[in-house]
Amino acid sequence: MDFPVLSIITFTPIVAGMVILCLPAHRKREIRILALVAATIALLLSAWAYFTFGQAQGDYRFEEQYAWIPALGISYHVGVNGISMPLVLLTGIVIFTGVLISWNIDDRPREFFAFLFVLATGVFGVFVALDLFHLFFFYEIAVFPMFLLIAIWGWKVTREYAAMKLTLYLFIGSVIALVGALAMYFMSGLNTFDLLALEQAGFSTAFQRFWFPFVFFGFAVLGGIFPFHNWSPDGHVAAPTAVSMFHAGVLMKLGAFAALRVGIMLLPEGAQFWSPLIIILATINVVYGASIAMVQSDFKYVIGFSSVSHMGLVMLGFATLNKDGLTGAGLQMFSHGVMTALFFAVVGMVYDRAHTREIPKLGGFAKVMPLVAVGFIVGGLVSMGMPGFSGFVAEFPIFMGLWQKQPVAALIAVVGIVITAAYVMRIVRQVFFGKMPEAFEGKVGGVTTFDKIALVLLSGIMISIGVMPSLMAPMVETGTEIILRLVGGV
């Protein structure tokens, strides 16, 4: 592959961010347009890579490799497989829609977009990483802009607390995982951080069992696994809309992906050993997250906890370590990313108009913004795993895989789906169809064209994949096969 598409995707945002920083602060319009252009480039390139993925050969497509720190065997090594490619596309989608939604940010938009783009580069960098050090490098880059984005542009009431909590949680997780990664590096004796080489290192069983929890759970913190999920709802709620979208939509996948890429793929025997524990925790995630979402009165908290619940399904899929479960988890990462981005976009649109997120105080928004209501309903149907939407396509294989691994967990986790249906319907009824409080009557307006584009794009993707799983499932399967070769499953 001659055209370094992955590098360009990775660095487009940060370069744009730097250029934006150099613009004068009052040229807000130029700043926004530049941001939109950069986001569009990233989206188009990742879409291009996605759709030409099938033509490339090998386990990892679009590979590039340059020496970075030769003394330690560290290289800049990128490439995507069937699991990471959809996530790259997801990031492109979320950054694009995020910029659209944030068009009207008025407080220091220059810094806002610059930080957002630094975040995007970090995320892209992790998804395409084929080098352990490279992965950590970008992983940490993705973590810290979050702090500022939430602290500065977040919800006034909780932003300081939430930003700090989130950053510290994620940092703890990642540095603990880092120690595990260093242990792997030295244990392998290969003098390389290359993931593909480390996969073949053949670590001893005892080593794998000892280090797996550090690495897996270190990353899974960002994936929101119980009991380390605590940062996530607070963070989601406090963050400004675009950041919540990014945060729940992409960042949580980052944790899950890294846990898979480093934890499961490098330490497969450790994964086999610990998978019962992961299943237990992830099942708690699913049911507990949904239950807590049910009793929240803050719109955004409901969505925040729903993410916890859905990421539990991803973890469940990982823990099955079989073809169905892993494929489902791969699909669920994408599906949940798009879905939750849509959710948070909707929450943001409602909040911008109502200035409250208390569900009982809202009502009747379907009348003033019907498209937003439809968007939310589509998202809701995805989240309850309704057939015909991407959520079903993802959750079905996860449960299939779970049956083969641990039927009892399947029976328990499925309860989460009923609860999900209940809380989604509760919001739909109250917020969109309930009676509009008099305070809002005639005072709330519709949404902008940009908002509409974002909503239609996100819902369209979920429906397309729901109706035609072949758009994504075969690709994810190729990624799953790579994992299965390492894990030794079927």
């Binding site: 030769p70 973590v143 700090m164 120690v179 260093l182």
Partner: protein, 486 residues
């Protein structure tokens, strides 16, 4: 290790020291004969002089391959010494730039002359191969530093700072000197590289050797402000003129580490386990204490003081992870490089902020991102680098330090470091929160950034980024440099 016969080319080993002496003379001369206007540019003069020496070092001063001690066995001109010298010159140059035009010391010739003398002392420290030379170098460094710390004569805090630094320093020196004398007494040697053999020939009990090592460590521990010898640091840092604080917290610490590692490796290889255990305990206590105390600070200089104590702890991890060489010491060296440029960048912001507002209180930093987005961004880069976030130098440095710990089997120590890194992140973020989040009444009052400061700041930030992103060559350099220690 052989003591080489004198040849004129040996003088290149003290190229920087000679250059610095000349520079100090020029500064005093300009100060004496120059007019008021030219004095204002003394900082520029000093900085460019230091830069010139730095360049000259690169051209002529590189150590040769031959192993051996030069100038009668007083010095060892090796790669670690060279690396440290470059680092020290850089730090001093930045300090000079930061001092330019600062009231009331920015146009005082003696200030810059003293500064240059300390650099010279430190340069000798890092290459000293003889106990006598070492002690003299340390004192050459310390005495001007005491003066510099107390330079603001009208200011009580600065005076207190100078006095405190002097008292603590004197005691530490005395203890260290006692240790030196014991070593000499038992071995009859003053040359570091001959000592080891001499001590071993005496078949001394490890306890006695350990006691000697401990006494020496007291002296160096003071220099690197490692717990429990750190008490002076916060008060001195707070009271000293801010550029000097920056200098003490970076250059002085780097030089301290250089001698610590050289002496430990050269003199006490036999009791490595013993001193490694002491230093390990010190590392744990230092970083934990530094970080925990930093949490409560309201003054940014004090906070950076405690943070620099904590960083000494991290660096000690690199020292104790000495086996298997060379990753541990290399990571220590790289960490020092990263730490020096990062901390200087942070202090540059502090200097600039105090220059316009007269305040070092963290709460006064509110609204900085609106007053001066560039300064705020610089502070962001510096603090995140200190916290160990990529793509900044601090991240690479922490990764290597932890890698070294893991490699030498000190996984628990790596975890202690990790937990400390998290505490560190917390208080750095607290500052950034004030900078970016809080509003203040004088947001529309710009903060002036003079040219000298701008050069210093940009230079440091650029270094932070370059080391952080293109880290390959730097690691190669440090790995290669420290190999001559073994």
């Amino acid at each position: 290790m052989p003591i080489l016969e004198f040849t004129p080319s040996m003088l290149l080993a003290i190229l920087s020291e000679m250059g610095l002496l000349v520079l100090a003379g020029i500064i005093l001369l300009v100060d004496a004969i120059g007019r008021q206007g030219s004095r204002r540019n003394l900082g520029w003069l000093t900085a460019s002089g230091l830069a010139a020496i730095l360049i000259a070092m690169f051209i002529w001063g590189k150590p040769e391959a031959s192993e051996g001690l030069v100038l009668g066995g007083m010095l060892r001109h090796d790669w670690p010494a060279f690396t440290f010298k470059i680092l020290l010159l850089f730090a001093a140059a930045v300090t000079a730039l930061l001092s330019t035009g600062m009231k009331p010391f920015g146009d005082r010739g003696e200030f810059f002359a003293l500064l240059v003398v300390t650099v010279m002392g430190m340069n000798l420290m890092v290459s000293a191969a003889d106990l006598i030379m070492l002690y003299l170098a340390i004192e050459t460094t310390s005495i001007p530093l005491y003066v510099l710390a107390g330079f603001l004569k009208g200011d009580d805090k600065s005076t207190e700072s100078g006095l405190k630094y002097f008292l603590f320093g004197a005691i530490a020196s005395a203890v260290m000197l006692y240790g030196f004398s014991l070593i000499y007494g038992f071995s009859g040697e003053t040359n570091l590289y001959a000592l080891a053999a001499g001590v071993q020939a005496q078949q001394l009990s490890p306890w006695l050797m350990g006691g000697m090592a401990l006494l020496v460590i007291v002296g160096f521990g003071f220099k690197i402000s490692a717990a429990p010898f750190h008490f002076w640091a916060p008060d001195v840092y707070e009271g000293a003129p801010t550029p000097i604080t920056a200098y003490i917290s970076t250059a002085s610490k780097a030089a301290g580490f250089a001698v610590l590692v050289r002496v430990m490796l050269a003199v006490f290889p036999a009791i490595q386990a013993y001193w490694a255990a002491i230093l390990t305990a010190m590392a744990v206590v230092t970083m934990t204490l530094g970080n925990l105390l930093a949490l409560a600070q309201k003054n940014i200089k004090r906070l950076l003081a405690y943070s620099s104590i904590a960083h000494a702890g991290y660096i000690l991890i690199g020292v104790v992870a000495v086996n298997p060489p060379p990753l541990g010491t290399a990571s220590m060296l790289l960490y020092l490089i990263a730490y020096v440029v990062t901390n200087l960048a942070a202090f540059a912001v502090v200097v600039l902020f105090a220059r316009s507002t007269g305040s070092d209180e963290i709460e006064d930093y509110a609204g900085l991102s609106r007053r001066s987005p560039g300064l705020a961004l610089s502070l962001l880069v510096a603090l995140l680098s200190l916290a160990g976030m990529p793509p900044f130098a601090g991240f690479i440095a922490k990764v290597y330090i932890f890698a070294a710990a893991v490699q030498s089997g000190l996984i628990w120590l790596a975890f202690v470091g990790v937990i400390n890194a998290i505490i560190g992140l917390y208080y750095y973020l607290t500052i950034l929160k004030v900078v970016y989040l809080y509003r203040s009444d004088d947001e529309d009052r710009r903060i002036a950034i003079p040219g000298a400061h701008a050069v210093a700041l940009v230079g440091c930030i650029a270094a932070v980024l370059i080391i952080g992103i293109i880290s390959g060559p730097w690691l190669d350099w440090t790995l290669q440099a420290v190999s001559s220690w073994f």
